[in-house]
């Protein structure tokens, strides 16, 4: 977030990439793309490209992380070295660690972990190309992968961000908007109840702008949710 900038990111309601303030980038979701993983998903969001794969429920490793009365969700978010223009060193860093943790927390709310004591559900998200909003893309892909794996859940979790550029609240920031904009608010919700399971904010928003951004991100999530359903219906043939 650069805060104040002279860069014109939105002019007369049209953003640099031609979108209006409340428009999502193009999203393509395919369920069941990997053979080994119990469930998987490939997701393209603008130029973001993410793979998600799920294994489990299975025996929890390491043993000491096991919980006697429920399963744990072990989510892991990684960015490939070639996913960003400035090659990223392979390996785990603090940002990946944080995202992995908050994603695990989000899923522990919806996955019916009580059904599998002492087990672990492993969720792996690999970002192979990044253009802002990767944590939202990864979380969304992982939700589809969990459903694809037949893991019992109370709902899927769509995730989308809103932000602010040139004092205008907009939906789904792209890379330039993320770099030069004034605020970034990733959100993830449970569609059937409206509950929020992930919310972060970077930058500066007035109370009014915050309400606007929350509304916008929520509607973005609901749009995304429709696409997630469609991906699974396409994979499994819709109504029998």
């Amino acid at each position: 977030m650069a805060g104040q900038t002279d860069m014109k990111l939105i002019k007369d309601g049209v953003r640099l990439d031609g979108r209006k303030a409340d428009e999502l980038r193009e999203v393509k979701i395919v369920a069941g793309v990997l053979d080994n993983a119990n469930g998987s998903c490939y997701l393209e969001w603008g130029n973001n490209k993410v793979y998600a794969g799920v294994f489990g429920p299975m025996e929890c490793h390491p043993r000491h992380k096991q919980k006697a009365d429920r399963a744990i969700v072990q989510a892991r978010y990684t960015m490939a070295p070639f996913s960003v223009n400035d090659r990223k060193r392979p390996g785990y860093d603090r940002r990946s660690s944080e995202i992995s943790y908050i994603v695990s927390q989000a899923f522990e709310k919806v996955v019916m972990v009580e059904e599998f004591p002492k087990a672990s559900i492993r969720v792996d998200m690999q970002v192979v190309e990044a253009h802002a909003g990767t944590r939202c893309a990864a979380l969304t892909a992982a939700s589809v992968a969990l459903a694809d794996a037949g893991i019992p859940m109370r709902d899927m979790i769509p995730s989308c961000a809103a932000g602010k550029v040139n004092d205008v609240v907009v939906l789904d920031l792209n890379k330039e908007e993320d770099n030069y904009g004034q605020a970034d608010l990733p959100l993830a919700i449970i569609p059937s109840t409206g509950e929020i399971v992930l919310l972060q904010l970077d930058g500066h928003l007035t109370p009014d702008e915050f309400e606007q951004a929350l509304d916008l991100a929520t509607s973005g999530c609901m749009d995304l949710y429709k696409k997630m359903r469609l991906a699974l219906e396409n994979r499994y043939g819709g109504s029998a």
């Binding site: 119990n38 299975m58 459903a147 037949g150 893991i151 019992p152 109370r154 059937s192 499994y236 109504s239």
Partner: protein, 227 residues
Amino acid sequence: MGKESSDKSDSVSSRKLVLPGDLLETKSKPGRGIFRRDGKVHASVLGYSSDQSGYMNVNAITGGYTPKVGDKIVAICVETGPSVWRMDIGAAFNSTLHHSESGWKVPFGDTARFLTIGDAIWAEVFMVDAAGSHQISLKKDDCRKLYSGTIVKIGPTNVPRVIGKQGSMITAIREKTQTRILIGQNGHIWIDGKGKDIATAQKAIEMIDNEANSKGLTKKIEKLLEK
């Protein structure tokens, strides 16, 4: 072979694809694959809803094996202990075969002589406790160690499809390939016969596993078996 008829004889109209969280309009009692919230019934897994015999179920299309008492399964030994064997049955956790449920007289510490790592058996799930651990037994019905043939692993949710309506699919595969086949409810399937015939039967079974949801599958299998 009493368990060999598929309950996928649901009328097609009662099968609807549902996703986790979907609200299910029903007056029936809640069954499998569902959860309750505010007095209403919701699907918990990706599957087909089935409102039958007074129960609202969602039959999962994907997912691992959940052991149920009475299930016949094919199990593979992954570890030997002094008085038990640890067995892979394709569930979240490995199962236990206790020496007292093996039907053999096993001296303490001598388990590997009877069943060693990699050996396979046709067994029955005889105990599942509240914490989710389970045990299997070799003492029931025709349970036994398997000495020849091979094992194919498929998704347990596709086992009914491999069996077919009133066992029609599996009978066709057996007859056309002249093989002996035991279908474990856990998706582990034992096939025995001549090498080439086993390969054909395996191919048919794997095709069903990969294309369970597509139309025209039965015809494709018929064609494969004719070759």
